[in-house]
């Protein structure tokens, strides 16, 4: 059972990446997608730790792919959203979208906290 349904921003990124990659989501593609789109320096360890947490909450599930049919091809641990995960993602993004309505984005200030 999850402690809370709240998603941290990195968890949200990972779930969005999983949703977008549809069936081709695994460590490398998730890390690369987040890096490319957010400019964040993503470590593979953070991706795996987050996926583990999301699996604890029953938001994602894993399957092992067959090895690629090329020389040196390997099996992959693929990630997919579970129905609960898809629901949580929709809820979070919808609330985010509602919260963004009518907001004139301020220029970023120097302080982070």
């Amino acid at each position: 059972m999850p402690k809370s349904d709240h998603l941290s921003d990195f968890e949200l990124y990972v779930m969005l990446a999983v949703a977008a990659l549809e069936g081709d989501a695994y460590g490398v593609t998730i890390a690369t997608r987040i890096e490319d789109r957010t400019g964040r320096d993503v470590s593979i360890g953070a991706v795996y730790a987050t996926l583990g947490r999301l699996a604890d909450k029953d938001y994602v599930a894993f399957s092992i792919s067959d090895p690629e049919p090329i020389r040196g091809g390997r099996a992959r641990k693929l990630v997919a959203l579970t129905p609960a995960g898809a629901r949580a993602l929709r809820q979070t993004t919808e609330s985010l979208a509602r919260m963004l309505e009518g907001v004139a984005l301020l220029p970023a200030t120097g302080s982070r906290r």
């Binding site: 953070a46 795996y48 641990k77």
Partner: protein, 391 residues
Amino acid sequence: MTASSSPPRVARTLIAMVAERDDRQWVVADLDEMYAAKRERAIAFDADIWYWRQVVRSAPPLLARRMRPRRVPPSPSAEPKMTEKLSTALYYLRHAFRRLMREPAFTAAAVLTLALGIGGSVAVFALVEAVLLRPLPYPDAERLVILQHHNARAGITKEFIPIGDAVDIFARQSAFDVAGVYGMTGQLSVTSAPEPYTVFTMFATPGALSALGFRPMLGRNLQRDDAPQRGPALSVIIGYELWQERFAGDPRIVGKSLTLGETPRTIVGVAPRGFRFRVSQPVDLIVPNAIPLQAPAERASGWAHIVARVKAGRTIADAQSDLTKISRQLEAEFPRSNASTSYLVTPLRDILVGNTKKPLILLLAAVAVVLLVACVNVANLLLARSLSRRR
């Protein structure tokens, strides 16, 4: 891609160690894949740096995940007290670990302080252990002594002793089981090989070898008649290392011949592995040495280094008073050569350690203080942190 384009091995092992068992293979394989892609675009060095960065930055989240509290399944019986205690201990450990991860600056400061203190202490203790504490590689080594010649008028203490005095001391002394003369040289060459090579040679009377408790691992020991009074000695014992290196450990080496300098000599035995004396270099060859049966008229016509084994039940001080008595006799009999001369009995270890003993112990004390200061500093850090929490 060539076979050499594999990621840094140490880093790869590290990441495999920190990852959870279920994820291990996938994390490593994913990193390999990304590394290979980097290698196609960047030089090896940059890719390696990237890999190391990945490993360093992956470790905290992976470790934190491994340390996460897991629900302990309810125990089926009232019995498992031990596991309960253990899981409580584990809980506190995890809690401590997570708090440390949350405050990296504090953790780094504490770890660094302790690491410096402990590292310094360990390094210096290793030195002290090697120099002062580790037993010398001879049986009953604490009974081994070196004789020193001391001239009070010149204020000189030296290890080489006029041969005449050496012969008389051997004849008169009563405190030693055995005593003998030895010498070392790195100047001689084995010329019977296709390409001559220089060896580290020890000259020793059978008494010197027996004082050291020397036993060959192959063949026989040196005997008195191996060393003739006139002419070169014709037998030789070969060191284990030389035997392995130059003779490929030939098990039938005993009886074969070897030319040292210009004299062919018969190999009569092989020294045990690692046999050495006075210097850290293993002895390559042991050549028998003879001393005159009677003290020559010209007492300083040769020089001898003396090693002796104090009799069981006699102390170094006993041996010293024996030698002092003999020194006085010799001084009375040979006033011209032996005026103001006395002989000192010094334990082998003191000779080897020389004057480094005091500095070493001082250094040890110093690093112990550094360790103490490190502990106090960490205690301070903890105190400061808990105070800042209360506020």
